[in-house]
Symmetry: C3
Subunit: 189 residues, 3 copies
Amino acid sequence: MSRKVVITGVPGVGKSTVIDGALERLKELGREYWPISFGTAMFELASERGLVSDRDEMRRLDQDVQKELQSGAARAIAQISDDVIVDTHCTVKTPGGFLPGLPIWVLEELKPDVFVLVETDPDQILGRRILDESRIRDLEGYGEIRTHQEFNRFIAASYAMVSGCTVKIINNPDFLLEKALADLVEVLR
Amino acid sequence: MSRKVVITGVPGVGKSTVIDGALERLKELGREYWPISFGTAMFELASERGLVSDRDEMRRLDQDVQKELQSGAARAIAQISDDVIVDTHCTVKTPGGFLPGLPIWVLEELKPDVFVLVETDPDQILGRRILDESRIRDLEGYGEIRTHQEFNRFIAASYAMVSGCTVKIINNPDFLLEKALADLVEVLR
Amino acid sequence: MSRKVVITGVPGVGKSTVIDGALERLKELGREYWPISFGTAMFELASERGLVSDRDEMRRLDQDVQKELQSGAARAIAQISDDVIVDTHCTVKTPGGFLPGLPIWVLEELKPDVFVLVETDPDQILGRRILDESRIRDLEGYGEIRTHQEFNRFIAASYAMVSGCTVKIINNPDFLLEKALADLVEVLR
């Protein structure tokens, strides 16, 4: 059976860099994973069904439709016969609070084997966000980023309880990307 | 569809003050929520069914009957067509440990949209408990109150995973009630 | 109905000492619990079914078979008419991350009443592991043990949400075993 790895991290933690680097190293080892963005999978499903014509419209969809798209995307990913690494949000910080990225209806379809949390010191995340000029992000402070990362651990534990997946914390601090990549490769190989 | 907000906080955190103040401000803005006490809803259901004649008898009910009353109260609240704010306990501290206030059978009926945790520094909670002469409470120390608040965050994350609700942390520190009210109004408006 | 208590703690926390001591004191009080090791219950079930001949083979079983053995062992324990105390792992630390000891399919069969976490300061656990010559264990540092204990609290909260059990934290520090035993006896009596 194919292996399903979910990988998450707060904005600015360097998730994409870690994923890309690890997949490259794995390829050199003859081990392949199919990288999937959960958001893109949902958007493609919504487009196919004629519900949206661009990504901005996703947010305006009815809550029940969004739930159905989440389940549908999870179901589609679960049917892929290759090993996959699914890039998504553990929780999304919204004005109404932390929104779970993998509610039970997603977990029951996706059935992940491993759930990865990419983390680092909130100060470093703050620094990376400030340097990243490509995206405009709300400026959060140290305490808020820490709380978000902590809450992600709390909810990741409940994801494991429901799906039976393991939860792996990968630390991605400044100057130690190679260590983070080696840790992730170790989990994925 | 009506909006269902659940609001919780450890004893002494000032939950009632925050709820009352926010609902008053919302009314001024022309926005109404129906405030519901989950404990009262359970008691009323038990009275209707002739199971109890006063609230003290609730505790002595058989565990399966209590579960059935929890589900029943949650179902009744879910059917209300107005927006509701449900005041309950995230967990109750009992001699046997932390008891979940919203086990899965409650969440599956209630389907909350937002789960609010009202929090503040344990020292301030301790101070408020000592000053509150209207209730006799077991005296807990700083560490115990901190652990209770932390555990409430942990379990709130699992409530979100099952129901898909957001989890909003509202800080209610001394001298800053207006800020707490503004934060809650922002979530509820 | 019989009472089902689950007791967990990271390796080296002194779980067995606490269980044995508490059960002895309870016996003196005329209160009996049947101690069960969840791992042994799973192994016995696997042996009965001719799946394994020794415990080492358990690990090599197919994942679906392991799940079925977990459910089966939980179901068998749930049918015991005596009060039981089930010794198991809250999470197991594996190379792929923290693996839940009581995923939802175990909780739904077992329906525990109380979930106990035996904890102490990571430094003391480190010290006990070094002194315990009977077992060879991977040497973890303070931070790793702390993270493991914290993660166990997070997931215990989700166990409570699903099963409705209480979560009791029993502190088992150096020189204070009698206090830990008294606390556990208080919960079990």
